[in-house]
């Protein structure tokens, strides 16, 4: 298992796609900072007081982290990264050289996902530091805020992204192709699924009247993308359980598929 992860990290470090994705994301991070600078500090005095009031963008560290990652931008980057990484071995046929090395083929899937998460973690940590760093240095309105809140938001965001990575990973394993993995992943990242789920809630309410729960309470992406970071302990635990269930199901499913299916 350790060797498999080492191998996956090596090939990740050598892949062109990894470098391109990392550069694009760092660029988008800096771009985000640029937008913040213009909107919040307004150095060119282009906004009236009324404009500022309507935009009302928070420049507290925890809010900055949330807005950086809980966005279509990052989800798209993440889905491209996970899908390309998860499919590369199969795409070039390298899997034929190594899947047969063990009878426990599921280990290959697990190691591949863990490696993708490690890659994602590095990307998130580096871009968080760059974003918070540039904001702290160059954004006049920057506020660090409560460190406890910052840690909590980082934890929730990270947990959600791990779950998203598992879901994207599953689709790639299921369809054994980049396109097959990307289409559903992008539908989620772009918020299209979110809208469909809203519609589902609406229909649910029409049929059953007003209930305590609606379907999207149990659908990870709606729950997460809509999550109120100030919510109480119970809501966070509920989200955590939801993340865990989705991660276990999708990673477990990928492992099962890897174990049972022939290598073509």
């Amino acid at each position: 298992m350790y060797n498999l992860i080492k191998m996956n990290l090596y090939r990740m470090s050598k892949a062109v796609s990894t470098k391109v994705i990392a550069i694009v994301w760092i660029f988008l991070t800096l771009f985000n900072f640029g937008v913040m600078k213009i909107v919040v500090d307004d150095p060119f005095n282009i906004m009236s007081e009324a404009d500022k009031a309507t935009l009302a963008t928070s420049s507290v560290a925890s809010d900055l982290i949330q807005s950086l990652f809980v966005s279509s931008n990052f989800l798209i980057i993440l889905s491209v990264f996970v899908v390309l990484f998860a499919n590369a071995e199969h795409k070039c046929g390298f899997d034929k050289n190594l899947i047969g090395i063990t009878n426990h083929k599921w280990k290959h899937a697990l190691a591949r996902w863990i490696s993708a998460v490690i890659g994602m973690t590095v990307l998130m940590v580096v871009s968080s530091l760059i974003y918070l760093g540039t904001c702290a240095l160059f954004l006049n309105a920057f506020e660090l805020g409560s460190l406890a809140t910052l840690a909590k938001v980082c934890g929730i965001v990270y947990m959600g992204m791990v779950t998203f990575s598992a879901i994207f990973f599953f689709f790639t394993t299921l369809f054994k192709s980049s396109a097959g993995g990307l289409v559903p992943s992008l539908i989620i990242s772009l918020g299209i699924l979110f809208m469909i789920e809203k519609l589902l809630d609406f229909l649910f309410n029409k049929v059953f009247g007003s209930t305590d729960y609606v379907p999207s309470d149990f659908l990870f992406d709606s729950k997460f993308l809509n999550f109120d970071m100030d919510a109480g302990r119970n809501a966070i635990i509920f989200l955590g359980v939801l993340c865990l269930v989705y991660t276990v199901l999708t990673v477990g499913g990928s492992m099962l598929l890897q174990q049972r299916r022939d290598v073509k």
Partner: protein, 306 residues
């Protein structure tokens, strides 16, 4: 006799296609086994099952004397090259080799370089991307990849396919050398019998998923020898006549055709002698089959014997 590799009625069914049909294959230690079959015969499917990449629908196999289920610890002693080498095109030969060796927990960069040199790839191994390689170079890199774990068994699926004559000779010599120098047992498939005839010690002919024949290299040479083939009206009587002429090297096929391997210039005399004994000669020919024709004769008639 304990075999290094043995299959027991191994079968793979894809929907309506029986790609591999109850094959019983036997491989002794140190052999180079040539698995010969046309495109679609089931060679790749059979090798994939042995390589642990596909599950048999039916039947089983054992490797190094252990049944399939207990091969977990032995799998890294098998090197596989299935259907053209699977390589990362944007990486160098060295990086591709490194990936494989990391999985096996090996960290010896010199060994990687030695292996690459051994297959004739020593220049630019850390500069040139694999996508810039010729097919022959990729095949050789593919073989080098199989050698990383110090394997005792190699499964090579059509390593010669698509190469030019020069490339074919190189790979063939490489395979022969690996078998001799490293004492590796090799199962190698090809759709051309002739390509393997110079190195294989044993052959299996796979046709429509079935192993229709298995023979040694010596047997192959014997079967392809120059000979007179006579179809007499009465083969039993004809044999007496032929023996009466002092001919001892002959063989009767299907109780109707007699193959004579000596006095090849005397076909006229043999016909005359048969006629004297009231035996008609229905057909006679001097045959010297090329390997390929021999192969066609066993597969061409869909398993029908001569």
């Amino acid at each position: 006799m304990e075999y290094l590799l043995e299959t027991d009625n191994i079968t793979k069914i894809y929907g309506k296609i029986t790609a591999v049909d109850h094959v019983n294959l036997h491989l002794e230690k140190g052999e180079i086994y040539g698995l010969i079959g046309r495109n679609g015969a089931g060679k790749t499917t059979l090798l994939k099952m042995l390589a642990g990449l596909a599950k048999p629908t039916e039947g089983s196999y054992s490797i190094f004397g252990e049944p399939e289920k207990q091969t977990a610890k032995l799998r890294d002693r098998i090197g596989v090259l299935i259907e053209g080498p699977g390589l990362y095109p944007n990486m160098t030969a060295y990086e591709n080799m490194k990936i494989k060796s990391l999985i096996l927990g090996m960290n010896d960069d010199n060994f990687i370089k030695e292996l690459l040199a051994d297959v004739g790839l020593e220049r630019n191994i850390d500069k040139l991307k694999v996508k810039q390689y010729s097919l022959g170079m990729k095949q050789r890199l593919g073989i080098a990849m199989t050698l990383i774990g110090h394997p005792d068994l190699l499964l090579l699926d059509e390593p010669i396919n698509g190469l030019d004559p020069q490339g074919i000779v190189e790979i063939r010599e490489l395979i022969a050398r690996l078998s001799k120098e490293r004492n590796i047992t090799i199962l190698v498939s090809s759709h051309i019998l002739e390509e393997l005839s110079k190195i294989a010690t044993r052959y299996g002919i796979l046709h429509n998923g079935q192993l229709i024949d298995e023979f040694t290299h010596g047997e192959l040479l014997r079967r392809c020898r120059e000979r007179i083939e006579i179809r007499p009206s009465d083969a039993t009587k004809a044999v007496t006549v032929i023996e009466g002429m002092g001919i001892t090297e002959y063989k009767v096929l299907d109780k109707s055709v007699i193959q004579i391997f000596e006095r090849l210039e005397d076909s006229g005399e043999i016909v005359l002698e048969l006629a004297k004994n009231n035996i008609k000669t229905l057909s006679i020919a001097v045959k010297n089959e090329a390997l390929e024709d021999y192969y066609l004769s066993i597969t061409g008639g869909a398993g029908k014997k001569e």
